[in-house]
Symmetry: C2
């Protein structure tokens, strides 16, 4: 969305909710239409809403009925494949996502920590950190100190190759 990042939760304000519904249902149907045109698929959408007495049906009630007929003709086990209580299929999907989630989480931790480190270095304000953050920060700082140390060594070797210090 826009102007502000959308929080995905029921919009309590009646006026805002209706405005959002109008815009978004229009947008949704446009997207469905584009999908059908671009990819030559058959689709229908039905939206039951409190603003109209009748559900919004796209692209036409006739087409919806055709698509539904095709759908109803499927064997029962296919029709119920997505039922909310079908645990094994849900679990499979969840597992598949968990891998990605874990990776994202690690990335985020690293980024967050690096951000905190720079904020602290700039402001000098270390006192508000949690114990866990402090520990992680110390680890990160030590890593960086080691890196810097290695870099100093490298540069010294480049500038004064194989030369012993005086005294």
């Amino acid at each position: 969305m826009t102007k502000t990042k959308v929080i995905l939760a029921y919009i309590a304000n009646d006026r805002a909710r209706k405005a959002s519904f109008k815009k978004r249902s229009k947008g949704l149907i446009k997207k469905a239409d584009e999908l059908c045109t671009l990819c030559d698929v058959k689709a229908c959408a039905i939206i039951v809403n409190p603003y109209d007495n009748e559900p919004e049906v796209w692209p036409s009630n006739l087409r919806a009925q055709q698509v539904i007929s095709g759908f109803k003709r499927l064997p029962d086990h296919v029709q119920s494949r997505n039922k909310e209580d079908n645990q094994s299929i849900c679990q499979e999907r969840i597992s598949k996502k968990e891998g990605k989630l874990r990776k994202q989480y690690m990335d985020n931790q690293q980024k967050e920590l690096t951000k905190i480190m720079y904020m602290c270095l700039v402001s000098g304000a270390f006192q508000n950190l949690s114990l866990a953050s402090s520990k992680s920060l110390v680890f990160l700082l030590n890593q960086n100190i080691k890196d810097v140390g290695r870099r100093i060594e490298l540069l010294q070797n480049a500038m004064f190759p194989r030369q012993d210090n005086v005294e």
Copy 2:
């Protein structure tokens, strides 16, 4: 809609069409989900596609059947309200849109012409214009010339009020 402006027509390239389908059907379902969450409406979507043996059904086949049941329970005249052959209703909608379309068209014409005028003035290349464009351009230029004339007069009157020219 991106990297290039999308042309709304069947994507001939198999690979691109499939990629587009995957992205867009995912996007469509996300939008449907958001609509339901934000506005508390009940909706379902069914997409019949050549890549899977079964149609893609959202949010679940169970929910789809519930929404369809509600839809099927409507009286016949409502169910067929959107049928492609229902000319009077289509015509009404078309008329409603035509007003807006006409206004937009006029706006566009004006903008396009103004753009062409400036391009021509900058480049000096008038030779590639169509007859119609040329005529419109002449009209626009004459308008502008008149405007400039009026402005010159205005400024002269401001600088030399009620004064006759020498000789």
